[in-house]
Amino acid sequence: MEFFHAPNFDWMGKAKYFITLSLVLLAVGFASELKQGLTYGIDFRGGTEITIRFAKAPPINELRGALGQAGMASSTITAISDPADPRSKNDIMIAIGEKKNAEAGNLDTDRQTVITALYRVLGETPSDKPDFNTVTSTDLAAYLTQKDPLILGASAGNRYNQLASALISARDSDHGGIVTDFSELDNVPGVTPAVISALSSQYSLTGFVIRDAQTVGPTVGSQLRTQAIDATLYALAGMLVYVAIRFSGGGLLRLNVAGKHPFFLWKWIDYGIFGLAAVIAVFHDVLITLGFFSLTHYEISLTVIAALLTLVGYSMNDTIVIFDRVRENLRLMRRESFPEIVNKSINQTLSRTILTSGLTFLTVAVLYFLGGPVLRAFSFAMVVGVVVGTYSSFGIAAPIVVAWNKFRGGGGEVAAAPIRAGSAAEKQRVPAVARR
């Protein structure tokens, strides 16, 4: 089975359409960033976020009022249900603004304030019995061993540890972390009515559970911001050097510049044009991806930066594959013009490009749909990045090299005498490349 059979598109001829498309995407992204900015995650913003899951739909307005009374008037409450997970339909997130001083917000007091407000709003009174929804496996095992509802006596051994484990697992995995009635645990293996009554006599059940509580001080946030930018710039610089070395030499450009004295900067660019074109393409990919983030309000967190750095590597890959083929064809095809050679190289590698991008796209698409809310922004970045990264190899990087070649007056046909493959003259002509 084969998708493309000897494709023969004129890529370089269509270059101006690609550049236009890129400019439009960049402009849209830029406009969105000016208008609504980028949404930063708590890693970079700082502040406090508390995620809460409710057994029943939460009274958000009353909660807002209660928090205001408790001194947290500046906090925001958002519903964060994930469409892929029906158990999350009652989840909310409370975001408390960042503190002015260097210290992180006191998570303990904030958490306590929120819990007190929640109890009041839900009309429950905090009982002195510990909450089953927050108990740990070890504590539960300790209680069960002491109470011994299965009357095992000295031969209890590991049984209560395993039972506690199974109960906690059922609570967290099967019931989404909230149990509203102890009878929901009837189906757990090893549970008898005696166990249920032991649980209900010792533990209470609140209608909410805190899934995640996080606070980040402003110094950490700004530190991370600087480091994220540094890491991206260093990675780009590293790639520039690597690709420039791998694809070096003005000889590759087949310039007809005998007797001319070019501006020194042009000579440097001749040397590293392949690397430069690749890096410009990658930069373009990152900017477009950020533009999409601005449009969709996905939060930029540390893991999203990880995705951006990965797609920097990925987009490079793609461009390198085409450039590799261009270099090989420059040696073999002596009569074609530079743009024609580039076209042919892209056509020859088209199958491989579409396939790998397609496969990577498939895997990150699976991750986007099945990977859960924590990774969603990450997988969104990868999905956009894979598409744009593939496109930028033939849409941006290759046209840049071709345009530079034209600007430097090269790309014409080969000199009069055909050079025999393997001869000394050929070795002289093209910089030493690993013999394939």
Partner: protein, 550 residues
């Protein structure tokens, strides 16, 4: 066409089988106590769980970022030097004027040193403050400027961090939590990360870590509390006796008063015994106040050697127990005390336990602040595991189906290489004891997507060569040869990205960088060596003129 399987091919497959066995062994047979062949399913599960730890975002737990206030440590160091100069000058009868600390906390100006005692003064500095450099004070013939040089400052900062790490580690260990981690972040020089897997409420751990823990036993100069610093000063006509200082104290430190406001005490500055002389501390039920607990402490021999004579000399005077610069308790010395004592203070059992723990672990070398914190509930962790596993299986299935449909029998080759790739990845993580995080699982999925690229590169090249008319064996040869450098190139660029991510990222992101890097390196092995071996095996069994299924 070679008939049968050549020796070289046999060695190749032998090597591959050995690699597989090593991997499986690494995953299944190594437990916390060493090599341990599993004899039951539970033991197998335990072995795997021992080697592959789940990160906090999958297991649930607490994560604290502690910032050590290094500037305070520098200032404390300078304060101590000032105290030492004054004390030594007094005891050696060297007349000196004002000793003042400069605003940047690393310089001390000593004014009006008696010119005749200049030599002795210099000796004091050389012997007792060797890290400080002495230079004349500008504009004063008898003044000196002591400077703590940058090299010493840097050394002090790093020593403070080491001590802080050790102390915090000891305290966390003493709390008896499951598998805590305490380490430097590597990102900022003054930060320490504490990870407490499974800990849903880190309040106790936080208070234990942040307590200073500096214990001092010293004499009360005045056997009575004052209501304010001004009052204490007034009782001495505005000038404190030499060698004393005013410290705040707990209101009922003497056990008699029931007032709740802070009291002030005049105490001797030089402590006879400090926390360093403590050998042990433990909680014990109080005999005087039933229901409360005290902290009993035992001094080391060196400490007892000083404390015994001291208490004997000072019977009738008041001993003050100072904790973190506050007078915790004071009582009259009834008789000589050699090596043990008791701290009373309305402690509950847990308070007494925590204080004992803090005292035993030693004082923090500098105060700390919490600059970031995250508590992940177990149910969120369970959801993340479920999502991660689902996405992994989904992507493996999708890729496998595609490969087999598009490349037919060679697709099966690629699938085998992919599975082996994942096995090696998991085994490498088990060998290194790496931590698996949710982004780490994403890294595995990316390895699947990107790793297949290598196979695709080779197969497309083989197809091209076959189209050009080459025989299957030659096509496979050329395919691998031509694709080799491109495969290396593409893996290098992604691994370079991953290295930068590892250097700068925090825990979960580091996990991603690790799985991606290991996965891609393993992929080099499976897509080049293993795939080639499978092709060679297939070729050696192919009949003449049979087309290659790719």
């Amino acid at each position: 066409m070679a008939a049968g399987v050549s020796n070289q091919l046999k060695y190749k497959f032998g090597f591959i089988v050995i690699v597989i066995l090593c991997c499986l062994m690494g995953i299944m047979c190594i437990s916390a106590s060493g090599f341990n062949f599993p004899t039951s399913p539970t033991q197998l599960k335990n072995n795997v769980a021992d080697r592959i730890h789940l990160g906090l975002d999958l297991a649930g737990g607490s994560y604290l970022v502690v910032q050590v206030q290094l500037d305070d440590a520098i200032r404390q160091n300078t304060d101590q030097a000032v105290d030492l100069i004054k004390d030594q000058a007094r005891s050696q009868n060297i007349s000196i004027g004002e000793v003042s600390e400069q605003p940047d906390n690393t310089q001390i100006a000593v004014h009006n040193v008696d010119p005749n005692a200049a030599g002795k003064f210099h000796d004091i500095i050389t012997n007792q403050l060797p890290d400080w450099t002495v230079s004349p004070l500008a504009g004063e013939p008898n003044g000196y400027l002591l400077t703590y040089p940058p090299t010493a400052i840097a050394a002090l900062r790093s020593k403070t961090m080491e001590d802080a790490l050790e102390t915090i580690t000891r305290r966390i260990d003493a709390l008896g939590l499951t598998e805590p981690t305490v380490q430097f972040t590597g990102r900022a020089p003054d930060e320490i990360i504490v990870e407490l897997p499974g800990e849903g409420d880190p309040a106790r751990a936080k208070s234990v870590i942040s307590e200073g823990g500096q214990l001092e036993l010293t004499l009360l100069s005045d056997p009575q509390p004052y209501a304010s610093e001004a009052e204490a000063l007034a009782a001495h006509n505005g000038v404190l006796p030499a060698g004393t200082e005013i410290l705040p104290g707990l209101p009922n430190a003497g056990g008699q008063s029931t007032s709740t406001s802070t009291a002030y005490f005049v105490v001797d500055r030089a402590a006879i015994v400090t926390g360093k002389d403590l050998e042990d501390a433990s909680p014990a039920p109080s005999t005087t106040y039933p229901g409360q607990y005290d902290v009993n402490f035992v001094l080391s021999n060196a400490g007892a050697g000083r404390f015994g004579p001291f208490t004997e000399e000072n019977v009738g005077k008041y001993l003050a127990i100072v904790l973190d610069g506050k007078v915790q308790e004071y009582a009259v010395i009834k008789s000589r005390i050699d090596n043990n004592g008791m701290i009373e203070g309305n402690f509950s059992q847990q308070d007494a336990q925590d204080l004992s723990l803090v005292l035993k672990s030693g004082a923090l070398p500098a105060p700390i602040k919490y600059i970031a914190e995250d508590t992940i509930g177990a149910s969120l962790g369970a959801d993340s595991i479920r999502d991660g596993v689902r996405a992994s299986i989904g992507s493996i299935i999708v890729v496998m189906i595609f490969l087999v449909i598009y490349y037919r029998l060679s697709g099966v080759n690629a699938v085998v290489a992919l599975i082996l790739n994942l096995v090696i990845l998991v085994a490498a993580m088990a060998y290194f004891g790496a931590v698996l995080t949710l982004p780490g699982i994403a890294g595995v999925i990316l390895t699947i997507g990107m790793g297949v690229d290598s196979n695709v590169l080779v197969f497309e090249r083989i197809r091209e060569e076959l189209r050009g008319g080459k025989a299957p064996a030659a096509a496979v040869d050329v395919g691998f040869e031509k694709a080799f450098l491109t495969i290396i190139d593409t893996h290098v660029t992604t691994v370079v990205s991953a290295v930068f991510l590892f250097l700068f990222g925090t825990g979960p992101v580091k996990g991603f960088a690790i799985t991606l890097t290991i996965g891609l390196i393993a992929n080099l092995f499976t897509s080049i060596y293993v795939s080639r071996a499978i092709f060679d095996l297939h070729l050696s069994h192919m009949k003449r003129d049979e087309p290659l299924s790719v």
